[in-house]
């Protein structure tokens, strides 16, 4: 027994116009200062005004949103009393919106206590719309929430199925001006979702096709979107691919690359997509034997020639490294600019965080502490996994 959750997805050019047709009184937009500066809040506001809704903006979400930010936003939400909440931005803004929504409806819940087991009974006061402005996180169609506990220096993988947005608006207009570095980072995030969604221990028939298609689109269009941001086709395909990958992994769970990547992000403040994308080939090699057929499936579907399932994982890991290199992503922690001394000092914390990350549970092969330490050492040095 399992579930497949999805919002209503409105995609393609002019998808934003869907907002002008919603019914309600007040919307609360959760976003960040940069999105506001780019004029995207105004674009959303215009549609809301057409629909006859008032709105208030909370533009204080930071990258890797903290528990404190979520509590502050929820308090403002309670004062304003919206019937629609709009998460506008990258994963941080959409995840913050999801968590604020829970606290708005249930002030008694602590953000770190949002879990997939206990019913939340949301939608008593408001519903959620997500509008991504990057092509990566897929947070518009997942119920997962990643928040950062700044005191404990760790990311918290939270969420309840009820957190799923009611409507996701996937309009490429919001990624038309995305800088190459962010395009590359977030694209690697989407690729990690697609690959992990297909190879997690919780993979399922409903997600497989989504994950394969997303992987193919990303291999094909990510280099183009990074090389030429004005390539409209590549932009739109990447925006769709990220959303499709989000649906795929969101209903099958992410795995070890996320556990290790979350830890890297919390300790070294590395952008999420860069962190998980960097770790991905290493985790493919580590889990390769147990998921050999599935890695071979992916490689074949993308168009690589795979002689036997045994070589699927290695081949896919290498092709992901080639893709990353072509879009100027680091292939090791060293290349990412982490000094050896800082790495060694942080290693116990990196391992501790990864071990307690909820996404680790769905990994096809779960490493112990010693293996995690080795995995991080190999990732630091850029050495393919051989154990």
């Amino acid at each position: 027994m399992w579930y497949f959750n999805s919002p209503l997805i409105v995609f393609g050019e002019e998808a934003l116009c869907e907002l002008s047709r919603i019914e309600g009184k007040r919307a609360f937009i959760v976003t960040d200062a940069n999105i506001a500066r780019l004029g995207y809040v105004e674009m959303v506001g215009q549609q809301l005004r057409t629909a006859g809704l008032e709105y208030q903006v909370f533009a204080e979400v930071e990258p890797d949103p903290s528990l404190q930010t979520v509590r502050r936003g929820a308090e403002l939400m309670r004062q304003y009393g919206p019937d629609w909440i709009i998460g506008l931005g990258g994963g941080s803004c959409m995840d913050a919106a999801k968590a604020m929504w829970v606290l708005y409806e249930h002030p008694e819940v602590a953000p770190e206590g949002i879990n997939p087991v206990e019913p939340l009974k949301l939608r008593q006061k408001a519903r959620l719309i997500t509008i991504p402005t990057t092509s990566g996180t897929g947070a518009e169609v997942t119920w997962a929430i990643v928040l950062t506990d700044t005191q404990e220096q760790r990311k918290l993988s939270l969420g309840s199925r009820e957190n799923m947005a009611d409507i996701a608006i996937v309009d490429p207009v919001f990624v038309a001006a995305l800088p190459p570095q962010i395009t590359a980072d977030t694209g690697m995030d989407a690729l990690t979702h697609a690959v992990e969604g297909y190879t997690t221990a919780w993979h399922n028939d409903f997600c497989d096709g989504l994950c394969l298609m997303a992987t193919k689109l990303i291999f094909h269009y990510l280099p183009r979107a990074v090389a030429d941001g004005k390539d409209k086709e590549a932009r739109e395909k990447m925006h769709n691919a990220a959303c499709i990958a989000g649906l795929g992994f969101g209903n099958a769970l992410a795995a070890m690359a996320h556990a290790m990547g979350h830890s890297l992000g919390a300790v070294f403040h590395m952008p999420h997509g860069r962190a998980v994308g960097l770790v991905l080939p290493y985790t493919i090699e580590f889990t390769g034997e147990l998921m050999a057929e599935r890695y071979a499936d992916i490689a074949r579907f993308v168009g690589f020639s795979v002689a036997s399932p045994q070589e699927g994982a290695r081949l896919l890991a290498n092709e992901i490294r080639n893709l990353a290199k072509s879009i100027k992503q680091p292939l090791s922690l060293q290349e990412a600019g982490i000094a050896a001394q800082a790495f060694e000092a942080a290693l116990p914390k990196l391992v501790e965080n990864a071990e307690s990350d909820a996404t680790l549970v769905a990994s096809a092969r779960i490493p112990d502490s010693a293996e995690l330490q080795r995995l991080y050492r190999y990732t630091f040095a850029g050495k393919p996994i051989d154990f």
Binding site: M1, N115, V117, A358, V361, I366, D368
Partner: protein, 135 residues
């Protein structure tokens, strides 16, 4: 063979847990005791109450009680026999079981979600106990 839910079964599980290096490693920071409840239904006429005190990778105490009055554990996990059987036979991931509410849990969910690997290793230990399920 041990009858599932009997005093002997619980003691055998305690031994399996205390012999498991993988569990000791995965649960090295875990502190918290449990009731594992088998809900009435089918061959189970009366609720079965198993108690385990899990502490820093070891099982300090394991027992079967007549009812829930004996202890006030930090966590209570309850499910019908068929669900426990699927977990023990590794046909159902316990975390998936909780997420689909086939298994009900009372206690600090934040703590549970940080200990998913320990939960997996605990299930692994149950597979080491030759078990006869009531039919």
């Amino acid at each position: 063979m041990y009858k599932f839910g009997s005093e002997e079964w619980v003691k055998a599980l305690q031994e399996a847990i205390n012999a498991s290096e993988a569990y000791a490693e995965a649960a090295k920071t875990w502190e918290g005791d449990f009731y594992f409840i088998v809900e009435p239904g089918g061959p189970i006429e009366k609720e079965m109450v198993m108690y385990m005190d899990l502490w820093h990778g070891k099982c300090r105490e394991a027992a079967v009680y007549e009812d829930r009055a004996a202890k006030t554990p930090a966590f209570v996990i309850s499910a019908p026999l068929s669900v426990w059987r699927r977990v023990i036979e590794k046909n159902l991931d316990p975390i998936q079981g909780m997420m689909t509410r086939q298994m009900k849990i009372q206690g600090d969910m934040v703590k549970i979600m940080k200990a998913v690997k320990a939960a997996k290793e605990l299930v692994e230990c149950t597979t080491k106990v030759p078990t006869e399920f009531p039919e």
